[in-house]
Symmetry: none
């Protein structure tokens, strides 16, 4: 009978199923929260875009907020992992800062959902992020890399010595985040589509110019 099968201990397949369900929920929820914001997102919609049901959100994440928290954490984790791939050992300090700026730029353009999620979280004053202690004061790989490069440049005299890595990282982040997070309103006011390939390319180059002009000794 079906019944006896149902009470069987969790098989490996089943656990893999479970993992898949969780992952799918997380992925869809990331999209929905980044598209509609926290309050705007509907538990029903998230479930509907999934192969499972609403009940699973409660089973795996406890509720809407739990799901959102999991989304936040996984998003930050993933972004950090990607940034781990940044390297600039083989470049001069000046070349390196330009490269870091450009890669960060691409990175933002390629992960709009994450950027939007960050906006959403800021609207709520970071109150949810605050609950994910794991991420506190950890900075980000991009800032660490910048720190190294700035040290090298400071030593060689090629880069100015009076700025710290977080300042530079902030400037770069600000520029890049704006491209994605504010494209709708800025585009509307100035008739400029910041997501268009040619515009994107220009903005990318300009960012490199700014950073190099600023940091060169």
């Amino acid at each position: 009978m079906v019944d006896t099968q149902r009470s069987a201990p969790p098989s490996a397949e089943r656990m893999r199923d479970a993992e898949r369900t969780r992952a799918e929920l997380l992925e869809v929820a990331t999209e929905v929260f980044s598209e509609q914001g926290y309050s705007g997102a509907r538990v029903d919609e998230i479930a509907e875009r999934t192969r499972t049901t609403k009940r699973m959100i409660y089973y795996y994440f406890g509720g809407k907020e739990g799901l959102y928290l999991a989304v936040l954490e996984s998003a930050y984790r993933r972004i950090r992992e990607t940034e781990q791939g940044l390297h600039a050992d083989d470049l001069t300090p000046v070349e390196a800062v330009r490269r870091i700026a450009e890669l960060t730029f691409d990175h933002h353009h390629d992960h709009p959902a994450f950027i939007r999620l960050v906006s959403v979280e800021n609207i709520h004053n970071g109150q949810h992020l605050g609950k994910v202690e794991a991420l506190r004061d950890l900075g980000t790989p991009a800032a660490s890399l910048l720190d190294e490069v700035l040290a090298r440049g400071r030593a060689s005299g090629e880069l100015r010595a009076d700025v710290d890595a977080v300042d530079v990282h902030m400037m770069i982040s600000a520029y890049c985040v704006f491209q994605v997070a504010n494209s709708a309103t800025f585009g509307f006011l100035f008739g400029r589509d910041m997501l268009a390939p040619d515009v994107r390319e220009r903005h990318r180059r300009i960012l490199g110019d700014i950073v190099v002009a600023w940091l060169s000794a």
Copy 2:
């Protein structure tokens, strides 16, 4: 006609009352929407923070969306008016761009509700702003002023000639918006309170440095 003269015209006081009611709703709604986002904002809460009732929101604005639209339009209008006050005629081009950057910086810090509102609107892809045709492609006074200054600098050879005002405005905006809009998450990750007076002051100076370094010929 006798008829129209005979009918008691609404007294000036009553009209002022009406205007006051409208204005109060608008003001409170600006706060609430910027604090909670569009979906998160509650019509009830807006009304409660007011001396009138929820009913008046429907009377004057037609509904939640109408109120939000009015908030958006009035916010942009107000910000633009404030920016009209910017002047830099008496400064050298280099001094002027620094000044503009710094004033823009202050401006953002002093109007966090507006910045947050812009974030909210971007979360919704600018779909509401798109309905306020009055604002389309109008740019902003700060960009116009930059245009003049860049022209002066280009003519005198003090500023580089290959950047346009919108690019500069975008860079400055990005930097300034980030201070306010992303202070929660950035502060959390890097343990830096961007709204603290001393930090603000440093960031302000850095922005000036960046702009000057970038634009100087």
Copy 3:
């Protein structure tokens, strides 16, 4: 001062104005109630379609129900007046019943708002009409006229003697009311537009045929 003029006793003009206002409200309300039903009609809409304001509805009629009652009474009164014009003295009884049927038919087609109003009132079980005692058990001129004609026909042997005027009137009314009151659903189910001129003409003739066939001795 305007004030002293305002407190002057009602002039003839003013009374005429008042009468006009009342009449306009009544006319518009007749339309709106017949289009949307009693609950569906909006006091606001009635007022807006008028040159006066909502306040006047309360001033003249006490409220929505009072207005509806006034509409009902005036509609019945008007219809009765129009029916007073029916005459059939110069026709043979057979010709006369056909003529009455046909005129009643035209009458219904030409006053759809009234017919719809009657439907509305029936939906509410005639509870409002019941308050207009003036109309109780009064029948209608059409029925009275039929009574005369039937008497003539009975006397001359041309019409059958075993039917009474109310039965005939009911049959004719039923047929005519249906044309207008049920045209939407009947038209939908049978693909027949009962308000189209040629259809109307056929139905009119058929009604005459039915009545004559039925009543001829």
Copy 4:
């Protein structure tokens, strides 16, 4: 797949519960809409007369209009099914038309809620019925049956040949609908209770007389 088999299928009982809930809502809604009209009906009242809650109306029908639509469709469907039972094979054409008229008459008297619902829908110009495409141009079993009988009568020479079934059906419907739909106002004006058994009986006989008189060759 294992997956689909493993998931516990909704039990037959639960499904029956769901069906019962839906059916109960539909039944109660039919009553309420026919008693109060579309605008006059209250979602709350419908729910209260039920063992479920208002929420279920939205769950199953999407809203008030969806419920009304479902009511309309089910009402027409049911009435059609009942009419399927009409037969007249064993009667002469003349007897048959009388029989059909009388059965239709009874049918109307026995389903006042349906008749009222049709009135309600006509007040709204059939705008909702228009959305239930399934019913368009389908006519009704009564008309089809009439068509057969008329053909028989035409062939045998017992019935006149120049009328079509829809005309006859319309005449009969008009007479019958009026009994129910206009009983309140007609009764008030002529002091005749059309729902009283003896009156009903007389009207029924008269209808038969009319139809036979009209259609006999």
